[in-house]
């Protein structure tokens, strides 16, 4: 059976494209859209896939990562899907990609103007844990009623001595909408601020798309006396020596020996290659 370019029919693509344009015009606001059933299950990236399918063209080069790596099984599956239905070139190199679809990480290498980062989002609503009802959270966003969120963060400080959110850390976009960046570690949050690339967010099951245009202010929520901080490690990457990247912890023996390795496989690979070149010189 032959499918349309990038699987979706033209009417669905138009609907998605109109949604994306409105999302770009209202940074950080979640635009509802008529998500379609895709051949992958809900929760496995259908939102990101629909956004990518709506924007991708024959000239694009696509990179897909999950947990920062190109070779994780779901990233492989999604990349194969687009290679099959759109015939696009694919790459593992961040700098060669025009579209990067990602789950749970922002690439370590800084993005450039013209690139588009598509995030896979499980739960788009930042106020969901405070208020399960959509009718209520919609009102809160409309009225900029974000007090409950600040109270919740301050309760963390009272209990734990710090804001105890390590990933999917809420941000405020362009000084207006509070947004969930998707479950990226808070380590990655600063990369969102004033990024030269366009950032698009797709939640298929929850049926929302949102966006952060390039060069837009994105501020992680905090307090003057408890400012936002990123994670740090005592270790550096065992393979490339990096001290500035997000590290995965690998258990290497039954006794609990461990080593730390860059989560971003492309970044690590490049550094390893450069390191070997240096050593040879």
């Amino acid at each position: 059976m032959s499918y349309n370019f990038a699987y979706l029919d033209e009417q669905t693509k138009r609907m998605l494209r109109r949604t994306i344009l409105k999302a770009v015009a209202i940074p950080g606001y979640q635009v509802p859209f008529g998500a379609r059933e895709m051949p992958m299950p809900h929760g496995w990236g259908t939102g990101g896939i629909q956004v990518t399918a709506a924007i991708i063209g024959a000239d694009d080069t696509l990179k897909v990562i999950d947990q920062g790596a190109d070779d994780t099984t779901n990233a492989v599956s999604i990349r194969q899907f687009f290679a099959k239905t759109a015939g696009v070139a694919t790459t593992t190199r961040t700098e060669d990609a025009t579209i990067i679809q990602t789950r749970h990480r922002i690439p370590e290498k800084p993005l450039k103007e013209g690139q588009i980062l598509v995030y896979q989002v499980p739960i788009p609503e930042p106020l969901r844990w405070l208020e399960p009802r959509e009718t209520e959270t919609r009102k809160m966003h409309a009225l900029s009623e974000y007090g409950a969120m600040h109270v919740r963060l301050y309760e963390d400080i009272a209990t734990h001595g710090r804001i105890a959110t390590a990933y999917d850390y809420p941000v405020q976009v362009n000084g207006r909408y509070i947004m969930r960046p998707s479950p990226i570690p808070k380590f990655d949050n600063p990369k969102m601020d004033m990024n030269p690339a366009l950032q698009l967010f797709g939640a298929g099951r929850e049926k929302r798309i949102y966006a952060v245009p390039p060069y837009t202010k994105v501020k992680s929520l905090d307090f003057d006396d408890y400012p936002f901080e990123v994670q740090t490690w005592e270790h550096s990457c065992a393979l490339c020596g990096s001290e500035d990247s997000f590290l995965d912890e690998i258990i290497t023996s039954d006794q609990g020996d461990r080593m730390f390795v860059c989560s971003d496989s492309d970044y690590c690979q490049d550094r390893q290659t450069a390191g070997r070149r240096e050593a040879a010189e």
Partner: protein, 205 residues
């Protein structure tokens, strides 16, 4: 199909050469224009279009309009482009400008009352209209200074053939954020995106 319909179809300007691929390409150009206001973006897939509809505006229409988007056309376009748009997009035409998802204006010097277009509502701000205005020229030059999301620092642009009240309408629009219309100015095959986030600083005219 009767004889009249046959003749009418033959006289209709053709749309995109390759509707699938052309629409995708034009969409990326529109996305660039809206994500980077102040960048004047060339549209390089231009369908044939009946005057006074220019190639850029026609490309925009064929990319974004369909059965689900009511459109409002100004008098000139109503007379000349209704059949073309009905055939190529299926978009229903509405006489009520406030009901339109897209407002299409052939001449930037003759604007409809922008106070009447859909501005969205507080809980659903995306339900606002997109206004597409044809103008004479777009260039980077001292004229109006734009700031805001998508713009690094600021950008100065000059638009020829646009009524001055458009700029005050845009400033008033910004004050309503997150409500407000989004706009695209089209000059031939060039488009400038003006999402509702754009801040227009006062300039000497």
């Amino acid at each position: 199909m009767n004889q009249q319909t046959k003749i009418a179809l033959q006289q209709l300007a053709r749309g995109f050469n390759d509707p699938q691929l052309d629409a995708q390409r034009v969409f990326r150009q529109l996305l660039q224009a809206m994500a980077r206001p102040g960048q004047i973006v060339p549209i390089d897939r231009l369908p044939e279009a009946p005057e006074p509809l220019c190639g850029g505006a026609a490309a925009l229409a064929l990319t974004l309009f369909d059965l689900d988007t009511p459109i409002w056309l100004d008098e000139a376009l109503c007379a000349t482009a209704s059949d073309y748009l009905a055939f190529h997009t299926g978009a229903p035409v509405t006489a009520e400008i406030g009901d339109a998802a897209f407002v299409l204006v052939a001449d930037g010097r003759q604007l409809p009352d922008l106070g009447k277009v859909a501005l969205g509502d507080a809980e659903y701000p995306e339900r606002a209209a997109t206004i597409i205005v044809q103008v004479e020229g777009l260039r980077i030059d001292a004229g109006h200074r734009l700031r805001g999301p998508g713009i690094l620092g600021h950008v100065d642009i000059t638009v020829d053939g646009l009524a001055p009240e458009f700029w005050s309408a845009l400033q008033a629009n910004r004050r309503r954020f997150p409500l407000g219309f989004d706009a695209m100015l089209v000059a031939g095959d060039m488009v400038l995106g003006l999402p509702r986030t754009v801040v227009v600083d006062k300039t000497e005219a």
